[in-house]
Amino acid sequence: MMQPSDIPSLPRGVRLHHDRVRGSWVLLAPERAVMLDATAHAILSRVDGQRSFGEITAELAEAYDAPPEAIAGDAAGFLGALRDRRFLELA
């Protein structure tokens, strides 16, 4: 489970890409192109290897005026799934 002090980052070979043909953001990774909805993109665009998971969820809670616990739960599920596929690293 993700801790607020964990610092997520995208490893080499995994990157955000704006798909101009489909008009959406995708996460490009080995053998995968993960289409991102607005929420997923909001989370990943804050994953920079600097901000902690706690800081990211606090920012999102403020930006979307949503309860931090709900945001943290959703974000942890999404980032955890990426981590299982080795599309995300935690420091």
Binding site: P11, R12, G13, V14, R15, H17, D19, V21, R22, V26, L28, P30, E31, A33, R83, D84, R85, R86
Partner: protein, 370 residues
């Protein structure tokens, strides 16, 4: 006619030339000659067109793509076009200097093939002495530069017992992912069924090993698994559905719905340069022949799995049932299923020398060695 959504992936077979001669090579038996290969500029133009129609992922393959001296330039062009670039290689032909140049060119990911986990096995299967040692050297350079790596282990009756070691090697090399692929019987492999067909017990053992390793290595190594499909009950969803997510460009520029599509005699393929890629994707007869579900006969037409597996593999239906629009004979609902299972058992019980793939222009098939 089904309107095609934009494709996600393109496999660019830069060349059919390869220093190895794996007996299961997926290249067609009739290979494109060096002189017929697309030029550097022609490939660059294809990459730009591919990105324009929605391709996100580019797989640079062959043959051995490193046989092309312009590989570094092609990678740079593909990145510039906005594509995620993956190099599918045996490692032979790559030097530390070339890998550094590929790094500068922006190569995103490398997929390294593994013919066996010992020099004896790997060199016998690849038909190339010293290939294993060279590959281990290349793997070390890949790790040093830091390229994300997938190890691509092709398994069959002769080397399936090496699967546990292949998984260990992937972890040792720092690979994030391994593809454990049981040989698919297309191309050259069709001639090697007696030599390479795994037994049903081996196939089941492989599934058991993969299932256990997936739990044990969760978060360390991602394992993508292609089981032995002659021993399965349902066919694979080939290419994610014909003409639905991906396309292949052959060395000479022919645009194919899958790498084995040339084995279907009635299909006519368009060539880049003759027609824009966007038009080929939407309107080429070869792409529309089996796109969607309208072409399906029974039992697929009324089957609830028809959008799950799209009736399986067309090339396999051609090879095994003699009819490319038949239900994939792997399927339990196919009238050929029982016969196929019997044939699979017979192939698995047979003994035969390996028939190595040839080289472009030299496709004489002769059994070599044992």
């Amino acid at each position: 006619m089904t309107v095609a959504r934009p494709p996600i992936a393109m496999l660019a077979e830069l060349t059919h030339r390869c220093p190895l001669s794996c007996p299961y090579c997926s290249n067609p038996v009739d290979m494109a000659l060096k002189d017929s290969e697309l030029s550097t500029d022609a490939w660059k133009d294809v990459f730009v067109q591919a990105a324009d129609i929605g391709v996100l992922q580019l797989h640079l393959s062959g043959g051995e793509p490193a046989t092309r001296r312009d590989l570094e330039e092609l990678v740079a062009a593909a990145r510039e076009a906005g594509l995620y670039t993956n190099l599918i290689t045996s490692g032979i032909g790559l030097t530390e200097r070339r890998l550094e140049a590929l790094d500068r060119a922006g190569l995103d990911h490398i997929q390294l093939s593994l013919q066996g986990t010992t020099p004896e096995m790997a060199d016998e299967i690849g038909g190339y002495r010293g290939g294993y040692d060279r590959k281990m050297q290349v793997a070390a350079w890949i790790g040093k530069i830091g390229f994300p790596l997938t190890l691509n282990a092709v398994l069959h009756r002769r080397n399936l017992h090496q699967l546990p070691r292949a998984l260990e090697m992937a972890v040792e090399m720092g690979a994030r992912r391994i593809e454990v692929a049981t040989v698919q019987f297309h191309g050259w492999a069709l001639q090697n069924r007696d030599a390479l067909m795994p037994t049903r017990e081996q196939a089941e053992e492989a599934t058991r090993i993969v299932t256990e390793a997936r739990t044990r290595l969760k978060g360390t190594l991602v394992i993508d698994y292609v089981p032995a499909d002659y021993h399965s009950d349902y066919p694979k969803r080939c290419m994610g559905g014909w003409g639905s997510t991906g396309l292949n460009v052959a060395p000479d520029g022919q645009v194919l719905p899958c790498h084995a599509a040339q084995s279907i005699p009635h299909l006519r393929f368009d060539t880049v340069g003759d027609r824009p890629l966007a038009e080929i994707w939407q309107h080429s007869d070869a792409f529309n022949a089996y796109r969607g579900t309208d072409w399906m006969p029974e039992p697929c037409a009324s089957c609830e799995r028809k959008t799950v597996d799209f009736g399986g593999c067309r090339c396999q239906a051609m090879a095994l049932a003699g009819d490319p629009s038949a239900t994939d004979p792997v399927c339990v609902k196919s009238p050929h299923h029982v016969d196929l299972q019997a044939r699979a058992a017979a192939h698995a019980a047979a003994e035969a020398p390996l028939v190595y793939r040839g080289q472009p222009g030299r496709t004489v098939v002769e059994p070599v060695g044992e």
